[in-house]
Amino acid sequence: MSDARKKSKVVSYNKWGYIFLAPFFIVWVIFQFIPLATTIYNSFFENYRSGLTQIGPNFVGLKNFVTIVTNGDLINYSKNTLIMWIIGFIPQIFFSLLLAAWFTDPSLRLKAQRFFKTVIYLPNLIMASAFSMLFFTLFSDNGPINSILVNIGLLSQPFKFMSNATAVRCLVGFMNFVMWFGNTTILLMAGMMGIDQSLFEAAEVDGATATEVFWKITLPILRPILVYVLITSLIGGLQMFDVPQILTNGTGDPARSSMTLIMYLNKHLFSKNFGMGGALSVFLFIITGILSLIVFRISYAGEVK
C-alpha cells in the first residue's frame, strides 16, 4: 500500500517535468522540426510556379541535388561565401584578441573601460541592412569616398568600387568585421577573465614578457573558446545574406562574385522553386550540422568521456 503511494508520487512529479518541457517542445516541433522535415521532403520534388501556373509537385528523386552540384553553383557560391567570411574573420579575430588582452590586463589600468566596451559593441546593434545601405552610398561612384579620394589627388577619376570583385568582397568582409568584432571581443574577454590570475603572476615572477605571457599562457588556455568563436562565426558566415544582398541589390555583382549561398537560395524565391531551394537548404543543413558537431566535440570533450 505505502509502496504504491510512493510510486504514484514519483509519477506525478514526472508529469510536471513533461508539462514544463511541453511549451518548448511544441514550439520546437512547429517552428523547427516540421519546417526541417518538409524542407527535406520538398527537395525531392519538382515544384515551382511559372507565372500563375503551378508546376508540380512531381517526384524527381535526387535530380535537384545533382543539378546544384553539377552546374557548379554550390561550389561557386560556397567559395564566395568562404572568401568573404575569411576577409572579415582575420581582422575580427586579430582585433578581438588584442582588445580582449588589453581590457583584461590589470597592469594597463585602462580608464573608461565600460564606455569602450559599449562603443565596440555598438556596430552590432545597427541593422545590417542600414549599415550596408550606408556603405553603398559611401562607396558609390559619385559618393563621398570617391570625392575625397579624387579631391586629395589620390585618384584622377572615381574608382568604381561596386564593379570590382575584390573591392566588393573586401567591403562585405569589412562590414562583417566591424559588426562582429565587439561580440567576439566580449566572448574572448570572458574566456581570458576565467584564466587563473596566479598563472600570470607566476610568469611575471619568472620574468616573462607580456608577449610571452600572451602566446604561452593566454592563447593555449583560451583555445576551446577560440575554436568555439571560430566555428560559430563560420556557421554565421555560411548564412551571410543581408550585407551583400543589400550592398549589391541582390545581384551578387560584379559577375556574381559576391553572391553567397543564402543569396542564391533567395533567388529561387522568385519562382517559388521549393525543390531547388529545398535541395540547397539540405546541403547547408549538412554542412552546418558537421560544423556544430565539431564545436560539440571540442566544448564537451572532457565531460563526455
Binding site: 511559372s50 507565372g51 500563375l52 508546376i55 558609390s140 564593379s163 559577375a255 522553386n273
Partner: protein, 468 residues
C-alpha cells in the same frame, strides 16, 4: 544577447502584426452593416453608376500606388472619398488594397488571391486589379484566365475603344482577347539639354537637333562629339535599352526557348562601344548618378522619357536643376518607345461587373473625363482626338521644355509604338539582361558570350522551365 534581442524583436513584430490584423478585421464588419441601410436611399440618386441590385456591396481594387486611387477620386462621377483607402460609389464601398511593387510583393499578392477569387467571400473578392506592361501578359493570358474579357464579359464595345491607341490594347491582348484597358499612354521622346546643344552643335532648336539624332548611327556620332566637349550623351547604357527593346521583331521567349532579338544585340554592340569610349556610363536608372544629370552641373546631354518623366522626375522644383529654368527640349529621337502606363483589369470572379465596366468606360473611353485628366494630372491620355487637339493648343506647352509643346511628338510616337512582341517573361528577362550586360560593359565578363551565359543562368533561376 543577440538571441534575446532577436526574440524581443520578433515578438514585437508578431504583436504588431496581430494588432494590425485585428484592427482591420474589426473595422470591416463594423462598416458593412452600416452601408446597407442607406443603400436604397442613395441608389436612385446615382442611378447611372449604381450596379444592378444583385451585385456585391464592396468593390475591391488591388494596386501598387496611389495613382489610380487619385484618378478615381478626382474624375469618376459620383465617387465619394471616405478615408485614405476607402471610398463610396452610390451604395458600393470601394476598398483599395495597396501593395508596393518592390521585391515583387505586388505580384506575389495577386498570385495569391486571383486564382481563388471566384471562391472568395463576397466582400473579399477582387474586382479590379492594375497591371504594368512589363508583366501584363502574366495576368491577361487565357490559361488560367484571371482577368475578365473587356468586350465579352464586361460589354465594352469596339466603338467605345475606338479612340484608344492600338499599342495600349496590344499590351493586354492575348489570343485575340482584350483583357484590360488603360487611360494613359506613355510614348517617350528624347529630351536634351539646350545649353549643351548650343555649345556642341551650335544650336538648341529642336528642328535642327532632330536630324542629328534621328537614327542610332547619327546618335553614336553625336556621342563622340559630345565626348570631346566633356559630356556623355546619356547617363547610362540602360537609358537606351527601352528604346531598342520596344522595337524588336521577336519575343524574349519563342517556343519555350530564350531568344535574343537582333535589335537587343544591336543595343549591346552600340552600348559597349559607347561605354568603352567613355561616352556613357553603366549606372542604374533612378540611382544618385542618374538623378545627378538633371542638375545644372550634370554632364549628361539627354534622357529618354515620356510625359511623366519630364513633368515629375526631372527635379523641376529644385533651383539647381536644368528643368527649373526650362532648359530642356524634346525631339523624337532614333526610335519610338513606351515607358510605363497602368492598365485596369477586371478580375474573374468579380461580383461587381457592371460597376467595373462603368469605371473602365468612364476613365478610358469618355473624352470629357480624359481631357480633365490631361488638365489636372498632366497624363498623356489614351484618347487620340483629345491628344491631337491638345497637341495644337499652346496652353499645353511644357514649361520644363522652355515652352515647347511636345504633345505632337508624343502622338506621333504613340501611333508608331508596337507592343506586339511582349511575352510573359519580359520583366525578368529585361532585368537580368541589363544586369548581365552591365557586367559585360564594365569588363567583369570578358566576352559577350560569357555575359549571355550568365543571363541564361539568371533567367533559368527565375523561370525554371527556361533553364537549359
Amino acid at each position: 544577447m543577440k538571441k534575446l534581442a532577436s526574440v524581443l524583436l520578433s515578438t514585437l513584430m508578431a504583436a504588431s502584426l496581430v494588432a494590425c490584423g485585428t484592427s482591420t478585421s474589426s473595422g470591416t464588419p463594423a462598416e458593412a452593416p452600416a452601408e446597407e441601410k442607406p443603400a436604397e436611399a442613395t441608389a436612385e440618386a446615382t442611378a447611372e453608376a449604381a450596379p444592378a441590385g444583385d451585385e456585391g456591396s464592396v468593390l475591391n481594387i488591388y494596386c501598387w500606388n496611389e495613382e489610380f486611387k487619385s484618378r478615381l477620386e478626382d474624375h469618376y462621377p459620383g465617387y465619394e472619398k471616405v478615408d485614405a483607402t476607402t471610398g463610396k460609389i452610390g451604395d458600393v464601398t470601394v476598398k483599395f488594397t495597396i501593395t508596393p511593387s518592390d521585391d515583387n510583393a505586388y505580384q506575389n499578392k495577386l498570385d495569391e488571391v486571383l486564382p481563388n477569387n471566384a471562391s472568395a467571400a463576397a466582400d473579399d473578392k477582387v474586382d479590379i486589379f492594375l497591371v504594368e506592361a512589363d508583366y501584363a501578359l502574366k495576368y491577361t493570358g487565357a490559361d488560367p484566365a484571371v482577368a475578365l474579357d473587356v468586350k465579352g464579359d464586361l460589354g465594352l464595345t469596339d466603338a467605345d475603344l475606338a479612340n484608344q491607341y492600338q499599342y495600349t490594347k496590344d499590351v493586354v491582348t492575348a489570343n485575340g482577347v482584350l483583357r484590360g484597358v488603360s487611360w494613359q499612354g506613355c510614348p517617350g521622346v528624347l529630351v536634351y539639354r539646350r545649353d549643351i546643344a548650343t555649345e556642341v552643335f551650335g544650336t538648341d532648336d529642336p528642328a535642327e537637333i532632330a536630324p542629328l539624332l534621328s537614327d542610332w548611327d547619327k546618335f553614336n556620332e553625336a556621342a563622340a562629339k559630345l565626348k570631346e566637349a566633356g559630356y556623355t550623351i546619356t547617363c547610362s547604357a540602360n537609358d537606351t535599352f527601352r528604346v531598342y527593346s520596344n522595337n524588336v521583331t521577336s519575343k524574349w521567349v519563342e517556343d519555350g526557348k530564350i531568344n535574343i532579338d537582333p535589335n537587343i544585340e544591336k543595343w549591346v554592340e552600340d552600348s559597349k562601344a559607347l561605354v568603352d569610349a567613355g561616352e556613357t556610363g553603366t549606372y542604374d536608372l533612378w540611382g544618385d548618378e542618374w538623378n545627378a544629370g538633371f542638375m545644372k552641373d550634370g554632364k549628361v546631354f539627354c534622357y529618354f522619357g515620356p510625359a511623366w518623366l519630364i513633368n515629375f522626375c526631372m527635379a523641376a522644383d529644385d533651383e539647381g536643376s536644368v528643368a527649373h529654368d526650362g532648359g530642356w527640349a524634346a525631339v523624337e529621337g532614333p526610335q519610338g518607345f513606351n515607358w510605363g502606363g497602368t492598365w485596369i483589369c477586371g478580375a474573374q470572379g468579380s461580383d461587381n461587373p457592371t460597376l467595373v465596366a462603368d469605371i473602365m468606360k468612364q476613365l478610358t473611353c469618355t473624352e470629357s473625363v480624359m481631357t480633365d485628366i490631361v488638365k489636372k494630372d498632366s497624363d498623356f491620355v489614351n484618347n487620340k482626338p483629345a491628344m491631337e487637339a491638345a497637341a495644337k493648343d499652346d496652353s499645353y506647352a511644357f514649361p520644363i521644355l522652355g515652352g515647347q509643346n511636345p504633345l505632337a511628338m508624343f502622338c506621333e510616337g504613340a501611333n508608331k509604338i508596337s507592343m506586339a512582341n511582349i511575352s510573359n517573361y519580359d520583366q525578368g528577362c529585361t532585368e537580368e539582361f541589363q544586369n548581365a550586360m552591365k557586367n559585360y560593359f564594365d569588363g567583369n565578363y570578358a566576352t559577350y558570350e560569357e555575359a549571355l551565359d550568365a543571363f541564361y543562368k539568371a533567367v533559368g533561376e527565375k523561370y525554371p522551365e527556361l533553364a537549359q
